[in-house]
């Protein structure tokens, strides 16, 4: 993997499980990807951030991410609801959103795609698989080379 060749990305991580968030962050670090990860713990925070309201009004400090990693089971506002809002709000609906979840039920997958999730990733129990996914994400942005 050629992480250095990658442009650092702004990644918004919406994850209520702190351990999982730590895992993901470490993953990015191991691959020496200089991605800037913004971690939020519930659905409401994610919506506020993306719509730039409340404490997240300052776009300098809280820029729109290149990519969103969204857990489905979130406190306050459900991940699917957050996905629906992202994909129906002008200006942010093009941001690639990857659903990250422990649930592999067909129902959840179908719903996520129905709400136009860009990718649906079941949280891998296998560390390598997870790392590959994040790498792929970086390559994805390098390939398309465009910002939201």
């Amino acid at each position: 993997m050629n992480g250095s060749s990658q442009r650092p990305l702004d990644i918004l991580l919406v994850e209520d499980n702190l351990a999982h968030a730590e895992l993901i962050k470490r993953c990015f670090k191991q691959h020496r990807a200089a991605h800037r990860v913004q971690h939020l713990v519930d659905g409401q925070q994610a919506i506020d951030y993306l719509l730039g309201v409340g404490e997240y009004a300052d776009r300098e400090r809280f820029p729109l991410p290149h990519c969103i990693l969204l857990d489905l089971r979130l406190p306050k506002v459900d991940g699917l609801e957050v996905l629906r809002i992202i994909k129906t709000s002008p200006g942010i609906k093009r941001i690639p959103t990857i659903v990250l979840t422990t649930s592999a039920t067909e129902q959840d997958v179908a719903r996520a795609y129905a709400y136009r999730a860009n990718s649906y990733v079941v949280k891998p129990i296998d560390f390598d698989k997870f790392a590959t996914l994040i790498d792929d994400l970086g390559s994805y942005w390098m390939m398309w080379n465009h910002n939201p």
């Binding site: 499980n17 351990a19 999982h20 895992l23 406190p75 422990t102 649930s103 949280k123 129990i125």
Partner: protein, 782 residues
């Protein structure tokens, strides 16, 4: 009938009879009185006439007597002595006196006979008086001169053989004779000498009272005698004071007292009969007056003779008649009453007999005690009645047959009929109606009370209401009702009543005709059908409900499984992830990182353990519930507080528990768990910088107890009030917890038939979680 005709008839018949008897009696009495008066008048007139005749007769007799005396030798001897102017010897006088005495003895009415000489101023020669003691010749010293009296000087001028009749006058001549002061008539005749010179007079004094008395000796007693002169002056009157009033310068005239007599005096008529109805008793008279010619007829001299009977005396005769009439009337009335009564009885008795015979109706014709043998109208009536009764009975038999058929039809069909006379209130039931109401036909009176008594007690109130509605006229056409009948054996019958009003041309209904139909079997079938239907329905419902529940359970289970699989997977992901990290870190020899990785792994393992424990607890809540018991909330709260004592002391929290929290129905252990979870949350989600303050309160609402646990902590955004009760829902993942607590609370409360919610209070910070539970009975010991 018995009370009317007979007495009425009797009464009026009696009245008629009494009236006719009374009128007849009165008329007879009146007529008799008139006849009596007429008779009395006639009698009086006759008597008066007779008296007049007698009087005239007596005067004629006296005239004869005086002439007889004048013709006697002894008197003639005295005359011849006077003629010769010789002195009349006492012997002569004595012989004349003896003659006179003999005459006086024969005629009681004569009270004095005298021989008066023309010479010596009419000196009396012989005078014989009727004294109280007897007859006596007046002695020489007592002889008087009488020439100045008309009866002397007038008689002396009369031719021989003539008779002078004096006026009726009061004898006032001296002497103790009986005629003193009494009306008298003097009858005299002259005695002539041969040369035709009147020498003496023979005078007879007739005392009129005595005369009248002697004449009227055969007249009825009590008659009053009146005698007047030509002018009407009373000469004889029952009241002596009125006699010879003119003598004393007063005049008492008969025409003043009885004006009709004026005609007699004026010579317009000869006799008069009259009845005076004066105001006083002595003026009420029946009287007869007759002109009495006397004396010198050529001069038409007369007196008026009258007889009178007092009217009461006359009527006295009729008194007996009156008494008799009254007695006869009374007797006749009594008889009339008796006869009327008898007659009315005779009339009403057969009528009553007819009535009592008709009362036997409808017995057999042989039982009728009808007076058929009578040949009068009663007999005819009886015969007619018998025919009528036979016809009626024939009709009745037809009617009975028809009724029997109707009854049989009703019995077979189970239909009874009834009617109510809405005016008299009389109620009629058919036999089947009786049976339908559980009575033997005819054994009880058909009325409202017995009807209601038969109605099943449960339906009675409704039927009373129904009947009241009808009687108040709230129904115009009729009504229909169903009710049960409690039969004497305890069996229950269901009947249907249908009734119609009949107006018969009136404004208000006068009759209510109804039928009663036994619908017990129909009802039973209906009930069975309904029951089956309901059964089917409820089975279908149960099935649907079961399906629904099953579906809900399925959905819940799915959701649960989904949630659980996700949340149980999470620690596994963590463990696996950090195991990978650990491997790399061990290879890299980064000890610090290794320790961190191990801590993550350990925490995940713990989390997993807690999750499993709490899930197990949650699964227990829904099944194997104890029966709810009455619990004191205070006891539940203090038990929970005890369990959390350590945490409370660490956080320095203040817990305020209201006194006398009400009693609730529920499971003790589970409610303690609820309270423990709520208190735990309140202690956990505190605002920074202030010690937690928790208040537990409760109030009773309807049949529920609402209990609230309020804190001054961080509060819950109203947007998430529903979410927080969901399984594994954690608003802030940074605060320790599994997200099961409130889900458990919700489940427990709902299983205990309550609800749980979060109350939003703008004014106050913090969280106020309330739950409701069924209220326990009040007044129980805490």
């Amino acid at each position: 009938m018995r009370l009317n005709i007979a007495p009425k008839l009797g009464f009026w018949l009696s009245v008629l009879a009494i009236l006719s008897a009374g009128v007849t009696g009165y008329y007879a009495y009146r007529e008799t009185r008139t006849i009596v008066v007429r008779g009395e008048e006639n009698k009086l007139l006759t008597a008066t006439r007779v008296l007049t005749k007698r009087f005239t007769g007596v005067l004629e007799e006296s005239a004869k007597d005086v002439r007889l005396l004048a013709g006697t030798p002894d008197v003639l001897a005295v005359v011849s002595s006077l003629e010769r102017a010789q002195r009349v010897s006492s012997a002569q006088k004595r012989r004349v006196a003896e003659l006179f005495i003999a005459m006086l003895k024969q005629h009681k009415e004569y009270f004095q006979i005298r021989l008066i000489g023309a010479a010596e101023h009419g000196l009396e020669l012989v005078r014989v008086d009727r004294n109280q003691t007897g007859l006596s010749q007046a002695g020489p010293g007592l002889l008087q001169e009488k020439a100045h009296f008309p009866y002397v000087f007038r008689t002396l001028r009369l031719p021989s053989e003539s008779v002078y009749v004096s006026e009726i006058e009061v004898n006032r001549e001296l002497g103790r004779h009986v005629g003193h002061n009494r009306p008298a008539v003097r009858i005299a005749t002259p005695l002539h000498g041969d040369d035709g010179v009147a020498l003496a007079v023979v005078v007879i004094n007739v005392e009129l009272d005595g005369l009248m008395r002697s004449m009227g000796i055969d007249l009825p007693p009590g008659l009053q005698l009146y005698l007047t002169n030509e002018q009407g002056d009373y000469l004889i009157h029952p009241d002596v004071g009125k006699q010879f009033g003119f003598d004393l310068g007063r005049r008492y005239l008969v025409q003043d007292d009885i004006p009709q007599t004026g005609h007699l005096i004026a010579n317009h008529q000869h006799e008069l009969v009259l009845t005076t109805e004066g105001s006083t008793a002595d003026q009420q008279l029946v009287a007869a007056f007759v002109r009495l010619p006397f004396g010198d007829f050529a001069k038409e001299r007369f007196a008026l003779l009258g007889l009178a009977a007092p009217l009461p005396e006359v009527y006295r005769e009729t008194l007996v008649l009156r008494t008799h009439v009254v007695q006869i009337v009374l007797g006749a009335s009594l008889l009339a009453i008796l006869v009327s009564f008898g007659l009315s009885q005779a009339l009403s008795k057969p009528l009553l007999q007819l009535v009592s015979a008709i009362k036997v109706f409808p017995g057999r014709p042989e039982d009728y005690q009808l007076p058929l043998k009578r040949r009068d109208e009663i007999g005819l009536l009886a015969g007619t009645i018998l025919t009528m009764v036979e016809q009626i009975q024939h009709q009745l038999r037809l009617l009975e047959d028809s009724e029997r058929r109707l009854n049989r039809a009703q019995e077979t069909a189970g239909i009874g009929n009834w009617e109510v006379d809405l005016i008299s209130g009389q109620v009629l039931w058919s036999d089947q109606q009786y049976r339908l109401l559980g009575y033997e036909p005819g054994l009880v009176t058909a009325n409202l009370r017995n009807f209601l008594r038969a109605v099943h007690p449960v339906d009675r109130k409704r039927m009373v209401h129904e009947i009241r509605r009808i009687t108040r006229g709230q129904e115009k056409q009729g009504y229909q009702a169903e009710h049960r009948v409690l039969l004497p054996g305890g069996a229950v019958k269901v009947v249907e009543e249908r009734a119609e009003f009949h107006y018969a041309g009136h404004q208000q209904p006068v009759h209510l005709f109804g039928t009663t139909l036994d619908i017990t079997r129909r009802k039973a079938t209906e009930d069975e059908l309904r029951y089956s239907h309901r059964q089917l329905q409820s089975e279908a419902m149960t099935r649907d409900k079961l399906i629904e529940e099953l579906e809900a359970k399925n959905a819940e289970l799915e959701r649960f499984t989904y949630t659980v699989s996700h949340d149980l997977k999470s620690p596994l992901v963590t463990v696996n992830g950090f195991l990978g990290m650990l491997k790399a870190d061990l290879e890299a020899g980064d000890r610090e990182r290794v320790a961190e990785d191990v801590a993550y792994i350990t925490e995940a393992a713990h989390q997993m353990g807690r999750l499993l424990d709490e899930l197990l607890e949650l699964s227990r809540v829904g099944r194997g519930n104890n029966l709810p018991e009455v619990l004191s909330l205070n006891a539940v709260v203090s038990q929970a507080v005890d369990l959390l004592r350590g945490a409370i002391e660490n956080s320095d929290a203040e817990i305020i528990i209201d006194e006398n929290l009400p009693a609730v129905l529920g499971d003790r252990n589970q409610l303690v768990e609820v309270m423990q979870n709520l208190l735990d949350n309140a202690l956990k989600f505190t605002s920074a910088g202030s010690a937690p303050q928790i208040r537990i309160s409760a109030l009773e609402q309807n049949n529920e107890v609402v209990c609230c646990v309020a804190d001054r902590g961080i509060g819950i955004d109203p947007r998430y009030h529903d979410r927080v009760f969901e399984l594994f829902e954690r608003l802030d993942p940074r605060i320790e917890g599994t997200g099961i607590g409130l889900a458990l609370v919700k489940r427990i409360i709902e299983v205990q038939n309550g609800k749980v919610w979060i109350e939003h209070d703008q004014g106050n910070q913090g969280t106020r979680i309330c739950f409701s539970l069924p209220r326990g009975p009040s007044g129980l010991p805490e």
